[in-house]
Amino acid sequence: MYQSFVGLEIHVQLKTETKVFCSCAANYGDEPNTNVCPVCLGYPGTLPAVNERALEMAYLVARSLNCDLAPVCHFDRKNYFYPDLPKDYQISQFHRPLGTKGYIDLEFRRNHKRVRIHEIHLEEDAGKMIHAGDMSLLDFNRAGTPLLEIVTEPDLEIGDEAEALLQELRRLVRYLGVCDGNMEEGSLRCDANVSVNLRGAGLGSKVEIKNMNSSRFVRKALTYEIARQQEVLERGGSIPQETRLWNENRDITETMRTKESAHDYRYFPEPDMPPFTADEAFLERVESRLVELPAPRRERFVSYYGLSQSQAEFLCDERATADFFEAAVTAGAAPDQAALWMAGDVQKWLNRAATTLTETALTPARLASLLSMLAHGRIHGKIAKQTLTRIFEEDTDAETIIQREGWEQIRDETVLGEFIDTVLSENTRAVDQLKAGDARPMGFLVGQVMKATAGRAEPQLLQELIRRKLDYNVIHVLSFGGAIAGRRQEDGLVVPGDLVDVHELFAGDPAVPDSLRFSEVQLGQFLSEEITPADWAALITTVNETITSANTGGVVIAHGTDTLSYTASLVYWFFSDAPVPIVLTASAVPGNAGGRSDAVDNLRASILVAAGEERGVHVVYGKDDFYPINLKFERAGYTAVARGAAGRAGRDEVAGDRSDFYAGVFRNWNKDGLRRSAPALAAEARELQRAELTSRLEEALSSVFVIKVYPGLSGDALISLMDAGVRYFILEIYDTGTANLRETPFSLRKAFDEGARRGVSFFCTSQQEGTVDFSEYVTAHELWRRGAIPMGVLTTESAFTRLVAAMLVCEDDRAVVHTMEEAE
């Protein structure tokens, strides 16, 4: 087994006003050779004069990367001839870099790692040489721009991880305001050292990779180079120490022809600049410029504001965005709402307008006041979106817009009550229908009040008031196959059927309040093992229509037991933020067994939860209210009642205390840390038309495959699946993350090699309850290195549905992978 070592050398161009050793503007994008002077052009007799700001920024970065700071800053000359290097030596730091022994914490694919910083030093940039026909053209505008070189230890292992580190460093320097981090324009540059060797044998020969002009190229070049070196070693070859260039047109690294003698830089102390002592005053200035860095800020956003990992990542990507968010919260916005809007409608508008947050008319205070109007029901969601657009376009605040447009909703209960009374008195038939248990007229009544108020009634309050006046609540019961809606035939076999009439079932049931009304929707006659993508699409679109309709107090989904854990988690990914309770339930015994069936118990319990206050997705079975994700169907319900029962008919006899019957059928794995409500992962996709959603689900499902790993599993089998179009595997592996990767056809090895070539992703869950994090075994680490993503606490079923949901809303594979990495 091989081990790979990657170290990065990152050049950060400091955003000073002037160059590091002269007073020329540090704008290298200007007309060629305009920002040059005798000093930076290396004229005879000129001397460097160090820029205090550059020193400050350099120490600031070193401090932020937890380095030991040099008490005295010394410069050295690095001697080499090159036409773009005016003095033919570069003023740099060799003997005593200003920062040493630092580190940065990195989380990548759920693997936490402390990447050590070997050193940080300040130096001057060279000019630019452009090749044009039979000559080269030199522009020295960039010559002398302050450059900070950050050298990591070879603690990284793979290209993706190096890319992640680079991005984290980019965020860090942008947070500190010392660099704009633009890799395409070269203000952030990265070279890498790659070394592959047999595991345990330490570092191999070092190959330097250059010419990677974006973080994407860093990933691709390193992935390529690691595979290349490993292949050479596997063939029994050896790796020469050399410098290679990434060829972005051919997607390979190529040997750079160099002269052998070139690499004695003859460093010696720069005599022209006296050493700079980082005295107390200077260090205080540096301290005063420290800011909360992206990583701790993300953590704080999750722990303090209760945001999701992905929201925190979004908001903390740019300091200005995070600042905006916090300012909005300080101005009174609810953190979850502010986050939701900033990642949603605000970002959409910014994308469309191709601008950034700080350049728009939206201020934190304006957002906060908009959200507070929404929260207080002064406006509804649709109006809020329109108002947001107006704020951007008109540079004014929400209050002004709403007043001017007359968009404020009527939410005065007395005023609304008068409208309602009038409408109710004019529509006695509809009222009677409602009171008789038919939920349908609700929409009509709401519509009438809306009409009377010119659309300004606050819908949520309006519904509530009508319900209160008529004293009822509508629960929508969706029949989605399974035994609960099935019936046992004469021959004893259970066949799909329609759900029993719930209204009838609970008429007079003392546990069910009279105020509840039921609206039943049949979504199909099938047993739960027969669910197709079209069925799921139907379920999702129906739930969406239901929860957005004017007449919903809660939703119950009657489902089969067998696939409940799939549908429940899928519904969760789509509707975790539902404004009403959505309850999935099932039964072991067909519903037509009537009062003898567990279906009755479970439906009753579900209805009560659906009528309750706790929003979001639930699974109710027996007496338990389960989390919708990580649900495991662990024991067939029948086995409990089979004891002593004679004949099939006897099975449906579930009389008396049924606790024995329910016990242990379902269980939430890794229950700690699960939440019932969070921003819905696939909120966008639930708005799709049913046919469209069906075809997207079908497409997604044909590129996903779940495999339970077992001894002797053949890598070729997975490759055949790849041939058949599978791009994502959920691998249910052993323990907390091990699988066979040895050199044998009966291991995952070939599948991973081939997968890497084809861009196939592997997400790992465990066959046992536990957290998959790859931290325990060497085989697990190897899985990580080869690109497998540990799914943490998620079960196979939940990971699978998350993946499907992610594929519906993500633009590309990388976004899908990222979404999977952010799982609970």
């Binding site: 007799g45 001397l47 003859r266 010696f268 022209d272």
Partner: protein
């Protein structure tokens, strides 16, 4: 006398003609201005500089490794022959602000590398006392220009004795200031940690005025320094003179003895001192100087300015050929030597060791100044030698830097004073003072000047007299 000459110049034209005429035999100048800038340099930003009235209108010559805006800056090298300086050295600006007028650029050993001005690629400079002899170097042109009465003061640079030795050869005063007290901005770097701009002058007064005008820290040179306030006591009572076997020519030895005796006559307590580090001075000095030079001269590559080879196919060939064509052999020797002593594998043995020896030398000098106020020594073992001298080949010239190199390695100020003639040629002796002890040097020079007044070569009349030539 001098200021009036230039100031009252309807004779300006005559003065420039005088310079050209006089220089035919001396060859002190590489460039003489077509017209003297009457208002050179930036205007004074405060009234303070106005105090240096004794420099008002004074013509100065500037060694051609010090930048004067609009004038060549050749360093006596082919590689910089095409260059016109786009800026002025801080020292030059400050002198001009004090009223001085730059009249031209003087010859030097190529990039200051030599002790005879013979390594200049652009001209030969003769000793005004005897044109068959060298004027010394590397600031040979500046010392000769002063001795030949062409200017009262001329800027030079001193890396290992480059002002003091030609001053001694030509019989004028030559000051190597404390390292850093005169900004190096505009001085083409040879050995950055050792060198400093100074001057050769015909009198202590004009030398002191020039130094006062030039010195002080400069934003363009972060190694530059202000004199501490208050300055070290300018009076000296005890002078240590370097004793032991010094390897001097008979003429210099005899003159040295007489000079030391005269110090006693002038009222100084004299005592003989020895410097145990003396034998390391030249090796350490040349190691450091060559190392720094190899980097400092790397920038001359034919890309941005200066000599570019006629034909090359690629950047590397262009750089290699331009440098090979542009540098003279002594410069190449030192670049190769300096490159070698910095190479990894050799650096510890040579460069690093020399830097440590430098520490030893500084310590010893510090100790010596605990006992004496000034140190007196010869400047050079011989008087001016003939052009092309076999005895004084390039190597022997280097070995002979042993008395002057100490001041550069120890960063202390040193001053050459004329000590009379021997065999019709001048001899000069050197005072060294602790850091920032320039005042002490000037005071001692005035005292001893009573006994050894400056003398000028026969027939070398000053311009107001020479006008009648």
């Amino acid at each position: 006398m001098w200021p009036k000459t230039l100031k009252n110049a309807p004779g300006q034209g005559n003065y420039l003609e005088f310079l050209a005429r006089r220089d035919k035999s001396v060859g002190a100048f590489l460039h003489v201005t077509g017209s003297i800038r009457q208002n050179g340099g930036a205007p004074s930003d405060s009234g303070a500089d106005g105090g240096n009235t004794c420099l008002e209108g004074v013509p100065v010559a500037v060694k051609d490794n010090i930048a004067v805006e609009g004038m060549p800056l050749t360093c006596g090298s082919r590689i910089l022959e095409p260059l016109v300086s786009p800026y002025s050295a801080t020292a030059v600006e400050r002198l001009e602000r004090a009223g001085a007028r730059v009249v031209g650029k003087t010859n030097l050993d190529e990039f200051g590398m030599g002790s005879s001005t013979e390594t200049s690629a652009l001209g030969e400079t003769n000793n005004p006392w005897d044109v068959s002899r060298v004027a010394g170097g590397s600031s040979g042109g500046s010392a000769a220009a002063v001795a030949a009465r062409m200017v009262p003061v001329a800027l030079g640079s001193d890396t290992g004795g480059s002002i003091r030795q030609p001053a001694a050869f030509c019989g004028v005063y030559g000051l190597k200031p404390t390292y850093g007290t005169v900004s190096r901005h505009g001085l083409v770097a040879y050995a950055s940690s050792l060198e400093v701009i100074g001057a050769a002058a015909e009198s202590v007064d004009v030398l002191e005025a020039a130094y006062a005008a030039m010195s002080g820290s400069d934003v363009m040179d972060q190694s530059s320094l202000d004199h501490p306030v208050p300055p070290p006591d300018s009076g000296a009572t005890r002078i240590g003179f370097l004793g032991g076997e010094l390897g001097l020519s008979p003429e210099v030895a005899e003159n040295y003895a007489r000079f030391v005796e005269a110090l006693g006559d002038a009222g100084y307590e004299t005592e003989e001192i020895a410097l145990s580090t003396l034998e390391y001075v030249v090796p350490a000095y040349y190691t450091i100087a060559s190392a720094e030079a190899s980097a400092n001269l790397a920038r001359f590559n034919g890309v941005r300015y200066g000599h570019r080879t006629d034909y090359s196919e690629n950047p590397e060939e262009l750089i290699r050929k331009s440098r090979t064509e542009g540098f003279g052999s002594e410069v190449k020797n030192r670049i190769v030597l300096g490159t070698y002593v910095l190479r990894s594998g050799f650096q510890d043995q040579y460069y690093l060791r020399a830097q440590k020896i430098r520490t030893l030398i500084r310590r010893e000098i510090e100790r010596a100044f605990a006992g004496v106020d000034l140190i007196c020594s010869p400047v050079f073992p011989t008087q001016a030698f003939p052009h092309g001298s076999k005895e004084m080949d390039a190597f022997q010239q280097k070995v002979a830097d042993r008395f002057t190199g100490t001041a550069n390695l120890a960063a202390i100020p040193a001053l050459t004073v004329p000590s009379g003639l021997a065999g019709g040629l001048p001899v000069g002796m050197q005072f060294m003072a602790p850091p920032f002890g320039e005042g002490r040097l000037f005071a001692a020079a005035r005292t001893i000047g009573e006994i050894f007044p400056v003398e000028f070569p026969p027939g070398m009349e000053p311009p107001w007299a020479a006008d009648r030539e």
